[in-house]
């Protein structure tokens, strides 16, 4: 049950991009193509999952006063690791997303999850939390990357799907990222409000039914 809740929370109800609004810099800067967005998401997941796991393992040993610097060093080491890996194995991608991989270390999501969840939970839950929040982040990046690449260049993952459509330039520059994200957030809010309203009505109806049932008995 806890596992299901955790997964749902990270991906939907507490999505790092649309609800927590954390780690926005790469979200806006690197989602101009699907490929970039995907690889940055994967790199962030890598750091997030491992840092959550390591911090929950050593969390009790670290004195309270120096915990933040210790977390930062753990996260920075992991960031250096993924930086080296991508630089070595995906040099083409690295030239585009390198400057955002280097700043994964100050991505607020990672420190936020370390402080809010990993430090006070068991390793297996911390690992799961890392996976679900990471998946939520990756999902947000993926959607933005897909939409922006399609609208900005008429392509999906580098493949031209609409030959007559050469793209709306604005969506491939940061300005388009701000606007696209705003629209997605508004849609998310709209759906959320709708669902909450439905649940409220359902609850009210149930209460009414219960009341009439009680009244009937009396």
């Amino acid at each position: 049950m806890k596992a299901k809740n955790l997964i749902l929370e990270g991906i939907v109800t507490n999505n790092p991009i649309f609800i927590m609004v954390l780690g926005m810099c790469p979200v806006l800067g690197i989602t101009n193509t699907l490929n970039n967005a995907f690889w940055l998401g994967v790199s962030t997941c890598f750091v997030l999952i491992l840092s959550n796991f390591i911090i929950s393992l050593v969390g009790k040993i670290i004195p309270d006063k120096v915990r933040i610097p210790c977390y930062i060093i753990i996260i920075a080491t992991l960031t250096t690791l993924i930086d080296m890996l991508i630089r070595k194995f995906l040099p083409g991608i690295y030239t585009q997303i390198g400057r955002f991989i280097q700043i994964i270390v100050v991505n607020c999501i990672i420190l936020a999850r370390a402080e809010a969840f990993a430090a006070s939970n068991e390793p297996k839950w911390a690992l799961l939390d890392g996976v679900s929040v990471g998946a939520g982040y990756l999902l947000g990046l993926f959607i933005l990357g897909l939409l922006r690449e399609f609208l900005g260049a008429g392509e999906i993952a580098g493949i031209n799907v609409l030959p007559e459509f050469s793209g709306i330039q604005i969506f491939s520059i940061p300005a388009g990222a701000f606007i696209m994200l705003a629209i997605l957030m508004a849609i998310y809010n709209y759906i959320k409000a709708k669902i909450e309203k439905k649940q409220k009505i359902k609850k009210a109806l149930l209460r009414k039914a219960a009341q009439t049932a009680q009244g009937g008995k009396a």
């Binding site: 080491t77 700043i103 940061p174 701000f178 705003a182 849609i187």
Partner: protein, 197 residues
């Protein structure tokens, strides 16, 4: 004369054509987080100018005179974040002790600056761009000024937006993001600007 040209062109690049928020999209968290009121925006902006300038200079010196000679470039991320974190801590202590008036004004923003990616991003940028020392000083200073400008503009807009009547789903952040998008468009319009090219 040369240095004057360099300063002016760095100013235009760093503040307008390659604005840290609208071109590099660094520092979005504080940009959205503390831009609701002009007063806090100015406080945050000034703190960032101070931290960006000092940390970039320190990072530049350490990178050029320590990491390159010993071929330790892979320590860049780890060392830079340590420099920034300890600098912020030091500044807090220093300001509390010697300039309490300044601490009262900017102190609350200082801890937030450590995880501001604008600071680390600029430190990384000055070493990857291969600047000389003077360029580093002015570039990082003006990047901070660009951040302050973006924050002030944004806070001015958001103070008005609060009273606007908009669809419920757009209320708050989505609307602020759209305003930021339009501003980014305006800033990208300046990218053709080249006085000395």
């Amino acid at each position: 004369m040369d240095i004057l040209v360099m300063i002016v062109s760095t100013f235009i690049t760093a503040v307008f054509t390659e604005n840290i928020v609208f071109y590099y999209t660094y520092g979005i968290c504080p940009f959205l987080g503390v831009s609701q009121k002009s007063k806090t925006a100015i406080g945050m902006g000034l703190t960032v100018i101070l931290v960006i300038t000092i940390s970039s200079i320190l990072s530049y010196i350490i990178y050029t005179y320590l990491l390159i000679p010993f071929e330790l470039e892979y320590l860049q991320i780890l060392l830079f974040i340590l420099i920034i974190a300890s600098l912020v801590q030091l500044m807090e202590v220093f300001m509390k002790r010697f300039v309490p008036a300044l601490y009262k004004g900017l102190g609350i923003y200082l801890p937030l600056v450590t995880t501001n990616c604008a600071v680390l991003g600029t430190a990384n940028a000055v070493v990857t761009k291969g600047f000389i020392f003077v360029e580093t000083v002015f570039y990082s200073l003006f990047i901070g000024v660009g951040f302050l400008l973006a924050l002030i503009l944004m806070s001015g807009i958001r103070e008005r937006l609060e009273k606007a009547d908009v669809p419920k789903s757009f209320k708050g952040l989505p609307l602020a993001l759209i305003a930021a998008g339009i501003m980014a468009m305006a800033f990208s319009g300046l990218s053709g600007l080249n006085f000395f090219g």
